[in-house]
């Protein structure tokens, strides 16, 4: 195995500073993504950050790497296309809870089912921030927002449980108030061969007055510190995924090795598609024509 040469975080300094609100949880996530890439020694040219739309989806603009700031909800689809075209690239998808668990949830589930080798970092602030504070798919029940003035009638999506039952092979939750821990989780996800979800509590300091830094700080605890927790046990992970109240677990819920989607594609055995010769072999072409005769 090649020796990993860690890169300093400045390697990934973006062209402009983030325009997030002061105190936004996403700052911690941006830092953690850079730290994770640096820790793994990934050169900016080999890193592609794909996002959708929302405050957090602006992240690719703030990091020195390749990036696609795609459509609302479509980041995972675009990212899969990139990965299948060039599987030598490290493809990290970043976005928010509305983007991934609302409008883009179909792609999220199917990408996990495929176990395609992507890392998905969701900055989950339980609110629509960029559109100024409507309920999101992870807004807790009864919480009042601009779109739910009488309290949210719908219970939230449980992204960890959803990922576990959908076939993701690396399922973790971080907290942007713990960037070092989060960086570990993201690095683990990038290094993992298969679909990695890192759901991140990333408080919206402007529009979510319920799930604040103090709210999380009082509740979160690390699974790594939980005696006897085995992240290879999917049923144990599932039980933990339902823990939500005075204690909320963060850390690695589940990790296992399974074949990845790319393994099933014969064309990819010859290396990344982007490097294949364009024309088919003449003999193959002639066979195709002969079939029509």
């Amino acid at each position: 195995m090649a020796t990993v040469i860690a890169l300093p975080i400045e390697t990934y300094a973006g062209p402009v500073d983030p325009d997030w609100c002061p105190g936004c949880g996403d700052f911690g996530v941006l830092k953690a993504v850079k730290m994770a890439a640096g820790k793994l020694g990934i050169k900016p040219k080999d890193l592609v950050i794909v996002s959708g739309i929302g405050c957090s989806s602006n992240l690719p603009g703030f990091i020195h790497a390749y990036g696609v700031h795609s459509l609302h909800g479509r980041a995972i689809a675009v990212a899969q296309g990139i990965k299948l075209a060039n599987h030598d690239l490290h493809v990290v998808v970043t976005g928010g809870d509305g983007d991934g668990y609302g409008i883009g949830i179909g792609h999220f589930i199917h990408a996990m089912r495929r176990n395609i080798d992507l890392t998905y970092v969701v900055m989950n602030n339980q609110i629509y921030g960029l559109t100024t504070g409507q309920a999101s798919p992870t807004t807790m029940k009864d919480v009042r927002t601009k779109s739910t003035p009488r309290g949210n009638a719908e219970p939230p999506i449980n992204p960890i449980a959803l990922a576990l039952v959908s076939g993701a092979t690396y399922v973790a939750r971080g907290f942007s108030g713990e960037p070092e821990h989060l960086a570990q989780l993201i690095a683990g996800g990038i290094a993992h061969r298969g679909f990695a979800l890192i759901d991140v509590f990333s408080p919206c300091v402007t529009y979510n007055k319920v799930n604040t830094y103090p709210w999380f700080k009082q509740r979160v605890y690390k699974l790594e510190e939980e005696a006897g927790y085995d992240p290879s046990d999917v049923m144990a992970a599932l039980r933990k995924s339902f823990e939500w109240g005075d204690r909320i677990p963060i850390g690695l819920f589940y990790k296992d090795e399974h074949p990845i989607y790319e393994d099933s594609e014969p064309a990819l055995r010859r290396g990344p598609l982007v490097r294949h010769p364009l024309r088919p072999e003449r003999a193959v072409f002639e066979e195709l024509i002969e079939e029509l005769m």
């Binding site: 603009g61 296309g81 075209a85 060039n86 024309r279």
Partner: protein
């Protein structure tokens, strides 16, 4: 020119398409031309199918107007189509199972009853589907096609099933051939075989093979008729051709994956029909905005909504023009025939990559699903591959790489992810030359203006590169027929028919829909005497577009939206009516009244009923004239009642069973 049209009618699962394929390939191997059209899930009860195979010594560009031989695999097919068989023709059927009412036949049509079980008895137990093979053998004798060539086609078709299956098929076909030779006189066809081998290929196969030849490495799709056969071809050939073929969860994933793959540097394509395209539209604008190459094939079917999944139409033009919000550069091309499908997809990849934009290819069920023989040279190996300007490395000491550099041409050299020194963000928010967003804190009206102009400017070069349309036929023609897409062949044939009837017509076929050669088309149209736009949709979408682009309103329209493709005579008759100044009528014709009656029988009556005599009644208590369709028993021929159908509205007013029919 010698030609024959064979119609094969039967139920889904009768193996009818295999029989048609054997016939077509036999003719093709002999050096004849073939054009086939399969009208499926349509006019015949229980999801029955109607396949027409037209064979000729010269290039055929439509399934034509004729029916010379009917192979009826079930009773419906006899009743529906026997009357269409032209004098000199024949009706072939399994006389063990089916009855042919001779009153259905026109004069000089030969009934060819085949006692299939007696014919195949010496060959042991044979499956029922083999009735087709017996009929095929008899047909070959009647229309004078070489049996040994058919045997070679059967041999190749069943190669994967082993020698026993090959032998059985050939023996059964031969038995049918010999039976016909002993009992019937051939229909008098004399063919000149050139033995030039030509591919027999559908539009969708041409798209797929064209894509692979042009270097397509990624194809994504969600199953949707009539685009699915591209997916099937790609999936079956993926390993051999080194393509990743991805069936996705929905069309949103389909197009976004293709765009991702195109951004990352592979030639990527996806295909769908109108409903799927509707889901793709936002992403197509994304490809325009981030300047990612992608090829999208839109195979139209009858709309709106789920519409007619297995029927043809050219009704998605407005949708494709209107796809996605805002203005963005894209190219829209509508190939006119199967050979053009191959050429168009090659061209589409080059345009997509050179100009870094989405290219939409518009096809329809007719063009995509019908097979025809094409000249072998149309499928060439060494197609041009032009990838446009690529940055393969960037020295950061010369400044930051500008992915969207404001160039004169509008094309900014592209760096693929993985390129040293050229990291950047491709954003769907509008952005500056470097890709930095101008949508939020860095909002800048002049930067927005200049990048928008840069993107759109690419279309000027695209238009210069595309060949303008040309007027085919005499310059001074009395009438000009204008069409686009799949109607090219049928209009060409209608023009020839008109000429044979002394009407000088010419033909303006338009392939490149956007950007549009407005100046050239205007110049052509201004010289034309009477212009008629022929298109397979209700509202004349193309004529409207033509008016928007050229300011010229066509003089008349020929439109069709019943799901079936145009036949040459339909165009000819309407052209003549227009020239004679007859008003367009939307009245139900007698043939249509029979079909409406068939529909009523299928949905409300039983298998024994079929339409009999049809007469016209004036009003009879209704607010419009009526078609009075007699319904008779198949078994006894006795009258069971009558159906009254409105001539204007097509309403099925009343079913009057016999006891109250008087």
């Amino acid at each position: 020119m010698q030609e024959v049209t064979v119609g094969i009618g039967g139920a889904a699962g009768d193996g009818l398409d295999k029989t048609g394929d054997t016939l077509a390939k036999t003719a093709a191997r002999l050096g004849l031309y073939v054009y086939a059209y399969n009208s499926y899930q349509s006019v015949i009860r229980g999801g029955h199918i109607w396949l027409r195979v037209r064979i000729g010594e010269q290039k055929l560009t439509s399934h034509g107007d004729h029916l010379n031989v009917l192979i009826a695999l079930n009773q419906d097919s006899i009743e529906r189509h026997a009357r269409e068989v032209e004098p000199g023709g024949a009706v072939i059927y399994n006389s063990d199972k089916l009855k042919l009412d001779p009153t259905l036949l026109r004069d000089n049509v030969l009934p060819v009853p085949l006692p299939v079980s007696a014919i195949t008895k010496p060959l042991g137990k044979v499956p029922p589907v083999m009735q087709n093979t017996v009929a095929l053998g008899a047909l070959l004798f009647l229309i004078g096609l070489d049996f040994e060539t058919a045997a070679s086609v059967l041999t190749d078709t069943f190669k994967h099933k082993g020698q026993a299956v090959i032998d059985q098929n050939v023996a059964i076909a031969r038995a049918g051939y010999e039976y016909a030779r002993e009992h019937f006189v051939p229909l008098g066809y004399r063919w000149t075989y050139t033995h030039i081998r030509r591919p027999f290929i559908t539009g969708n196969e041409a798209f797929a093979i064209g894509a692979v030849t042009a270097g397509c490495k990624f194809y994504s799709a969600y199953p949707m008729t009539p685009a699915s056969s591209i997916l099937h071809w790609m999936a079956a050939h993926a390993e051999r051709c080194g393509i990743v073929v991805k069936q996705c969860e929905d069309e949103l994933a389909v197009v976004n994956m293709a765009i991702g793959a195109g951004y990352a540097g592979v030639r990527a394509m996806c295909g769908t029909s109108g409903g799927g395209f509707a889901l793709m539209t936002e992403a197509i604008g994304q490809a325009g905005m981030i300047e990612a190459p992608v090829v999208v094939i839109e195979v139209q079917r009858g709309g709106p909504s789920t519409g007619l999944p297995t029927k043809t139409e050219q009704g998605d033009l407005n949708q494709v023009f209107g796809a996605s919000q805002g203005d963005y550069p894209r190219v829209i091309i509508a190939p006119g025939d199967v050979a053009d499908c191959f050429a168009t997809v090659v061209e589409a990849f080059n345009l997509a990559e050179k100009y870094q934009l989405p290219v939409i290819i518009m096809s329809d069920l007719l063009l995509s699903e019908h097979p025809e023989t094409i000249e072998p040279e149309a499928l060439r190996y060494d197609v041009p591959i032009e990838r446009g300007e690529l940055v393969t490395e960037w020295d950061e000491s010369q400044g930051r790489y500008k992915r969207y550099a404001f160039t004169r041409s509008g094309v900014s050299p592209r760096a693929l992810p993985g390129t040293e020194g050229a990291a950047h963000v491709a954003a769907t928010d509008d952005h500056d030359e470097e890709g930095i967003l101008i949508s939020d804190v860095f909002t800048s009206p002049p930067v927005r203006r200049k990048i928008h102009e840069k993107r759109m400017r690419k279309l000027e070069a695209v238009l210069r590169e595309l060949p303008p349309p040309v007027l085919e036929g005499p310059e001074d023609a009395e009438v000009t027929l204008i069409g686009w897409g799949s109607t090219k062949g049928v209009i060409r044939e209608a023009v020839e028919k008109l000429a044979s009837e002394g009407i000088r017509a010419n033909h303006l076929h338009i392939k490149y829909l956007f950007p549009f050669h407005a100046r050239e088309v205007s110049e052509i149209l201004r010289r034309c005497r009477k212009t008629i736009c022929v298109e397979a949709n209700y509202s004349g979408q193309f004529a409207r577009y033509l008016r928007a682009e050229t300011g010229i309103s066509v003089d008349a329209h020929i439109r069709k939206y019943d799901g079936e493709p145009f036949e040459p005579h339909q165009i000819v008759e309407q052209v003549k009516a227009i020239l004679q100044g007859k008003p367009r009528t939307l009245d139900v014709t007698e043939d249509e009244a029979r079909e409406i009656a068939n529909h009523y029988i299928r949905t409300h009556l039983d298998d024994d009923a079929r339409p009999g005599r049809i007469s016209r009644l004036e009003r009879d208590g209704f607010e419009e004239p009526l078609w009075n369709v007699e319904i008779i028993s198949r078994e006894t021929g006795q009258r069971r009642g009558r159906l009254l159908i409105g001539v204007e509205t097509g309403s099925t007013y009343r079913w009057q069973p016999e006891e109250s029919a008087s």
